[in-house]
Every structure is written in C-alpha cells, then in structure tokens.
Amino acid sequence: MRELKILAVVVAFTLITYWGVEPYAHHEMHPEKPAPDYTFKDLKDVRNGKTGNAEAGKKLIVEGFQCQSCHSVTVDGKKLGNSIESGVMTPDLTSAGLIYNENFLAAFIADPAKAGKVEHKFEDGGAHPMTKFDVNYDGAFTDVDAQAVADIVAFLKSAAPKQMTNKEVFADACQRCHAIKYGDMKGGSMAAFTSDKSVKDYMGKLPPDLSQYIKSRSENYLHEFVNDPQKHLDGTAMPRVGLTQAAEDQVITYMAEVGDSKRAERNELGPKFLIYFLIFAVFAWLWKAKIWRDLH
C-alpha cells in the first residue's frame, strides 16, 4: 500500500513536469491558428458567376499565346509551350484543374500576387512575373476577362488527369522551388526544378529542403502553412498555392512517405515489443513473489 502511494506521488510529479514542458510549453510557444480554409473565402469570385465553356477555354490556350508563352500544357496528348524560368520555373498547367481549387485558380489568373498573398513583395516596385490576365489588352479586368477566366478554368478542369500519385502532386505543387532530396537520395531527381541561384534571387533565400519537414513541423502545422503561409510566417515570400484539400493531403502524405518512411514498421513492431515486456513483467513479478514469500 505504501509503495502504491509512493508510486502515485512519483507519477503525479512526473506528469505535471511533462505537461509543463510539452503540451503547455508548445501551446504557449505556438499559439493556435484558425483552421485551413480550402474554399479561399477571402478571394472574391472573379468569374462573376459566369459558367465556363471548356471548348472556348481550350481555344484560348491552344490558339492564344497568353498562357503558352510561359507555360507548358498537355492538350489531347500533345505538349504545347515550354516551362521557362521566370522568377522560378513556371508550372505545367496540365494538372492545375485537379490540384488547385477552382475559385483560387480563377482568382490567381486574374491577379497572381493577390491570390498568392504576396503583394507585400512588390510594394517597393516590381511586379509579379505572371501578369494579371487581360485577354483583350484593354488594361482592365472586364466581363470579357471574367468569361475568359471562367472558360480557361473550365477547360483546365476538364483536361486534368482524374488522379495523380502523391509524388506527382508534390512535384507539381512544391518542387519548382523546394527540394526533397530524401525522396531520391542517390539519383538526385528530387532536387528543385528551379536553379538554386534563380530561386534565391527571386525568393530572397533558398527555400528549405522538405525531406524532414514531416518531423520538424506537425502535420497540423503543415496543413495550415501550405494553405496560407502568411498565417505562420508573416511576410514570407512563399506564395499561397491554393491546393484543394485532397491535393494538400497528398502532398503531406508524400512528405511522410519520404521523411518518415519507417512509420508503418514502427507502428507494427511497437505492440509486439510491449506484449513481450508484458509477459516478461508477469514472470518477473511471479519470480519476485516466489522469492520474497519466505521473507515475511
């Protein structure tokens, strides 16, 4: 009985200390942020409620140059245009309709700096390397532009693959700036697509390698951060990329596959160890009881 009382005291003090240095301290150091918003409510509907026409959108992309001059895109199995280094490597648009939220995509085409929440980067002059969409070059965002944006978004959605692997989503969403070298340590294929120098010039510093971000940041943090980088890093040069919840889940799953590749093995082996030591404990206590029986 006395031993149990002592044990209770030891456990209580241990738990209080643990609570103080872990949950409580982390709560104090990292105040909670609002949950991710996958509808991007802060962006107004640039399409003005217009219904997009995929065929018209296709025509704009295939025949026009506003997208193709800087972006590659695969239409009907044929690759058009090329990715170029403009600030950073421009994204291939083929998967855009699947991985980006469509309202965000529309808002981004209309005003990239605003949708990406990086207007602060251009306060002292300069402009986002992707110009605001202006289909008839009249210098304003009119109803004609709104319809064209709606058409392009409709086309991108219809032309996008129906599903992608986690790694493919990561490559399209993150890898233009970020390396994740543990994804292919020997081959080196998971380096960032943009050269170190260019991305450094454009972003101000080299974006971090994401190999261990699944460990250095909590999953919760990653979701909040990818959804809106400014929330955790006020003033960061990283743009909001507007991933859908499903695409973001895929990105973070990929980061876990690369950065915590033994998670499944760990979770599988753990219970076996515990069962082994449980059995060991039973025998240890029985042995103890046997030996001490003669002593009292």
Binding site: G20, V21, M29, D209, S216, K262, R266, L274, F277, D294
Partner: protein, 416 residues
C-alpha cells in the same frame, strides 16, 4: 602459488584459478542489503540497465554516424533512420533512453535526499552519484550536438558562450572549447570524441566507484534503522529469513529490481515507439543553419531548471550585470548538490517525514525545481520572466536556509 588439482568441472577449474566461489559470494549471494526498502531502491538497477541500453544502441549508431558538419545530419536522418535495417529503432531507443535516464536519475537523487542517504558515512555515495550526474549531463549535451540540427547548433552556441562569462580567461576558453571562433566542424568532432569515448569511459569508471562506495556504509533503509549487518546476515544464513533484517543482493534484492525494471521497460518501450517527440525535439529535424536563429532556443527538459536559474536574473542588480548574476547563480546551481552532505547540519539520518522542517524544505525544493523546469522552456517575456526570477531566487534561498533548517530540526529533537 595456489594448490591446483585436477578439476572435476569447468566451474571448479575457474574456481581454482579465479576464486569464483568467493567472488560470487562477495558480490552476489552474501552482499547484504536491508530488507526494509521500497521500489525506489530499484532505481540503481533501472539506471544501470538504461545505461546498458544506451551503450548498446550507441554502438549500433556509431557504425553509421558521420561526425562531419556536411554529413552528420543526413547520416542520422537518412542513413540511420531510413536506410539501415532497424536503424530508426536504435536511434529512438538511444534518444528516449537518454531523456528517460534523467527522469530516473532525478527520482534516484530525490530518494536519497528524502531518506537522508547522503550523510554520516554515506557522503562518498552521494558525491560519486553527483559526479555521475555531471558526467551524464555532459554526455547528454555532447550527444545532442551530434545530429547537427538547428537545436544541436544553437544549444551548443548558447552553452559554449556561457564560458565567456568567466573572468579573465573567458574569451580564450570559449575558443579553446569550440576549437574554432565559432561552433563549427572542429566543435562537432571534439564533442563526438567526448560523447563516444572519454565521457562513457569516465561514466563507467564512476559507476564502479559508485557501487564500491556502497560497500562500507551499506544501503540505507526506509526508516533509517541502523543495522548490525554481520548479525543479521548470520540470522539469514542460519535459515531465519523471516526475522533477518537483511537480504542477499542475489537473488532476493535483484528479483525485486527485475520486477520494477519490467514495469519500467514497458513504459520505456511505449515511449520509444509511440511517444518520442519529447526526447527528439522537432526543431532538431531542421539542419543546422548559422544564419537562422530558431524562434525559441531551449535545452532538453532535464537541463531546464538550471537554465532557468541562469535566465531568471534578467536585470542588473547593484551594478552587477544580469548576465554575470545569472552565470554565478548557474554555477551555484550546478555545484550546490555536490556539497549537500556538508550543508545539512542535522547529525542523524532520518527520513524527511521525521524531520518536520526539512520535510517542508524538501517539497518546496521539488516544487521550485518543477516551476524552474516549466518556465525554463517558456519564452522569457512579461510575467514568465518574473516567475523565473522568483523561482531562481527561491532556489538560492532554499540552499542558504538549509543549514539553519536542518539544525533547527536537530535541536527540536534534542540531538544537538
């Protein structure tokens, strides 16, 4: 030369040459421990086993770890954690054991304080134990540097900087410790050497010394009863095990230790597999970067109380700079436990509940250390700084008060 005859068994062959029967008696079956003990007396064996886990897992890690600023991070987080079969298991076991061993050390230490097992002939047990605490601290600190993550780098930066506060030789000392003007490759390789060679060697030597110091004064009991070990041992050997107040180390004492150990191991392996972040700080999974200071720099949990004693003095007092005050307090905090046997002025060994004033002192100290630990991690702003200051001053006051508190207890009991 001893008389050697033809041996009838392997055991006898060794016995003739190594006197193993006597050795076994001295070390095991007739090494007498008091019977009146509780599970806290098992912490020594729990510590020995945890240290063994650290050595073995450390040997496996050592086969793949690369002590070089360009290679260290990846050798730990890629090679060991992802490539090597069960490398992750050894790293988790090593990291978690390194953290948990301090929990057990603190329990062991406070058991000693509570039952007064550090005086009246037991001073050397206490002192060798505190030397172990210090070498383990150095071992923990040097090991934390090896993955070369952000916290490795910045903790090394902050802690080595402290030596700069020492008068006259401070600046030179910092460079001497780092092997460079900055925390750099030379720092990593020397702390690697300390971690895998010199400090483990010192620890093993000190463990031997610590065990040896127990032989003459014997282990204390729950009630501090003074035993005639020879008479009690005779009773036990004659078969009167029930009334004998002693038990042999093997198998009786160890059977209880193993039972306690089994519970500890369940707890430990639960942490290894399912709850390891407390021992492997997420910040340290960012590679070291001398251009980016982490938002919050803090040591591992077991250093937080002394770190907060250092940080608690955040304003100048009487013309002495806050940094110097903190450093002096930090020096006191790290040395004061070593001299505990000499500032306790009560001549008798008694458990704390039989020393009313000391009893209060004991719980106040424990609470103060927990407050220091918790606030040692929190950002030092506003209210937090003041709580830290009060707790740091409280810590110093408690030790200033100890000689008077213990003396008063002795007087009230009529012992002096």
């Amino acid at each position: 030369m001893a008389k050697i005859t033809k041996a009838n068994s392997v055991g006898e062959w060794f016995d003739q040459r190594l006197n193993t029967t006597t050795f076994n008696k001295v070390m095991m079956t007739e090494y007498w421990i008091p019977k009146d003990i509780n599970f806290l007396w098992a912490m020594g064996v729990v510590l020995a086993v945890t240290f063994k886990i650290l050595v073995i897992s450390g040997i496996f890690l050592l086969m793949y770890y690369k002590p070089d600023v360009n290679l260290a991070f990846d050798s730990v987080n890629y090679t060991i954690m992802q490539e090597v079969a069960y490398g992750w298991l050894f790293r988790h076991m090593h990291g978690v054991a390194a953290s948990v061993i301090f929990l057990i050390i603190y329990i062991h230490m406070f058991t000693g304080i509570y039952y007064g097992s550090y005086k009246k002939g037991r001073e050397m047990i206490w002192i060798s134990g505190m030397l172990l605490f210090m070498t383990f601290s150095a071992e923990g600190f040097s090991g934390y540097m090896l993955p070369w993550g952000q916290m490795s780098y910045w903790a090394a930066m902050v802690i080595t900087n402290l030596f700069g506060g020492i008068p006259v030789i401070g600046d030179a000392l910092v460079v001497w410790i780092r092997g460079d003007f900055n925390v750099a490759d030379a720092t990593l390789t020397r702390f690697f050497m300390l971690h895998v060679f010199l400090l483990p060697l010192a620890i093993m030597g000190l463990i031997g010394l610590h065990f040896y110091t127990l032989r003459i004064p014997h282990v204390n009991t729950q009630t501090s009863e003074e035993l005639d070990f020879d008479a009690e041992a005779e009773k036990y050997l004659s078969g009167d095990k029930k009334s004998a107040k002693v038990i042999p180390f093997w198998p009786v004492f160890l059977s209880k230790d193993f039972a306690v150990l089994s519970v500890f191991l369940i707890f430990y392996f639960y942490l290894v597999f399912f709850h390891f972040n407390f021992a492997m700080d997420p910040v340290n999974f960012d590679p070291a970067d001398n251009m980016v200071t982490p938002a919050h720099i803090y040591p591992e949990w077991y250093f937080l109380w002394s770190y907060e004693v250092l940080r608690g003095f955040f304003f100048d007092i009487a013309g002495i700079k806050a940094f110097d005050l903190g450093l002096m307090a930090f020096g006191v905090a790290n040395g004061i436990f070593l001299v505990l046997p000499f500032i306790d002025r009560d001549p008798d060994i008694l458990p704390a509940y039989k020393r009313p004033r000391f009893h209060v002192w004991f719980w106040l100290l424990l609470i103060d250390l927990i407050v220091l630990t918790v606030y040692g991690k929190l950002p030092p702003e506003g209210m937090n700084s003041w709580v830290g200051f009060v707790a740091a001053v409280g810590f110093l006051l408690l030790f200033i008060a100890l000689p008077f508190v213990t003396k008063a207890d002795a007087k009230a009991r009529g012992a002096v």
